[in-house]
Amino acid sequence: MDSMTLIAIASIVTAGLTIALGSIGPALGEGRAVATALSSLAQQPDAATTITRTLFVGLAMIESIAIYCFVVAMILIFANPFWSHVIAQAAGK
C-alpha cells in the first residue's frame, strides 16, 4: 500500500471517528443541562428569564466542544494538508 492510499484511508477513517465520538460527550452533557434547567424552572418559574439565559450560555459552551470536533473533521476532508502535499507530488511526477 503506497503512502497516498494510506493517507487517504487514515484521513477518511479519522474524520468519521472524530465526529462520531466527539458528539457523544456534548450530547450527553447538553441533555443533563436541559433536564436540570427544566426542573429548576418548575421549582422557580419567576426566575425563568435568568434560567433560560444561563441555560443558553451553558449550552453554547458545551456545543463548542462538538464544534471543535466538527472543524477537525472538515479540515481532514476538505483542507487536508497531507493529501494536498501527496497530490502535488503525484501531479509533479
Binding site: F56, I67, F70, M74
Partner: protein
C-alpha cells in the same frame, strides 16, 4: 464546495486579494452604518416616533439591560463595543436570507479578528477601571501559583471564542450546500431557518461572553435597585 468565503476571489493583484469575505464585510458595515444614520436623522422624544426609531430603542435598551445585569456599570461606557459586536454578528447571520450572500463570519479570518478585538479590549477596560497595578494583581488571584494558568486561560478563551463562532457559521453554510445537492427545496429551507436561529444565538453568546470577560477584568458591581425597592 468551499470551506469559507475566503476562497471566492473577485480580484487579485500580487498579494492583494479582494475575496468574498472582505466584500460582504464591507457591505454589511455599509448597510449598518447608513441604516442607522438614516433612522437617527430625525429623532423625536415625544409620543410620536417612527417605527425604525422604536426598533432601535428596543435594541439599544435591551443590550444596555443585558450589560448591566452582568455587572458592568455604567453600561453606556461598554455599549459601543459590545453592542457593535452583537449587531455585526447578528446581522451577518440574518442576511443569509439574501440569495448569493455568505456570512463573513463563516471565515476564520473574521472570527479571529473579532476575538482579537475582545482580547485587546479586556485589558484596556480592566486597566481603565482598576489601574495597571490593580489589573495585573488580579492575575495573581487566588494564589500566585495560578499565574501561568490565568495567562493560558486568557489565550485559550480567546481562541475558543473565534473557533466557536467560525464552526457554527461554517457548519450552517456547509450543511445547506450539501443538502441543496441531494434533496428538494423543503429540507434545505428548514436547515436554513435553523441556521438563522443558531446565528442569532451565537451572536448573543459571543457578546455575553465578551461582557463577562470584561466584567471579570473590572470591578463587578451589582445592578442598581429600581425605585420600587
Amino acid at each position: 464546495m468551499h470551506l469559507s468565503p475566503d476562497e471566492i476571489i473577485f480580484w487579485q493583484q500580487g498579494f492583494l486579494k479582494l475575496n468574498a469575505t472582505i466584500a460582504f464585510t464591507w457591505g454589511l458595515m455599509f448597510v449598518l452604518a447608513v441604516g442607522s444614520k438614516l433612522v437617527t436623522r430625525k429623532l423625536s422624544t415625544g409620543l410620536q416616533r417612527s417605527r425604525w426609531q422604536n426598533l432601535l430603542e428596543l435594541v439599544v435598551t435591551a443590550i444596555n439591560q443585558q450589560i448591566e445585569e452582568v455587572g458592568l456599570r455604567p453600561p453606556e461606557k461598554y455599549l459601543g463595543f459590545l453592542g457593535t459586536l452583537f449587531l455585526f454578528i447578528a446581522m451577518a447571520s440574518v442576511f443569509t436570507i439574501v440569495p448569493g450572500y455568505e456570512p463573513p463570519t463563516g471565515s476564520l479570518s473574521t472570527t479571529v479578528a473579532l476575538a482579537f478585538c475582545v482580547f485587546v479590549a479586556v485589558p484596556l477596560f480592566g486597566i481603565e477601571d482598576r489601574g495597571l497595578g490593580g489589573y495585573l494583581r488580579a492575575y495573581l488571584k487566588p494564589t500566585f501559583i495560578m499565574l501561568p494558568f490565568n495567562i493560558i486561560s486568557e489565550l485559550s478563551r480567546t481562541l475558543a471564542l473565534a473557533v466557536r463562532l467560525f464552526g457554527n457559521m461554517m457548519s450552517g453554510t456547509m450543511i445547506l450546500a450539501i443538502l441543496l445537492t441531494i434533496t428538494p427545496f423543503v429540507f434545505p429551507i428548514a436547515m436554513s431557518a435553523l441556521g438563522l436561529l443558531t446565528g442569532m444565538v451565537q451572536a448573543y453568546i459571543f457578546s455575553i461572553l465578551a461582557t463577562v470577560y470584561i466584567a471579570a477584568a473590572t470591578r463587578m458591581r451589582k445592578p442598581e435597585l429600581g425605585p420600587e425597592d
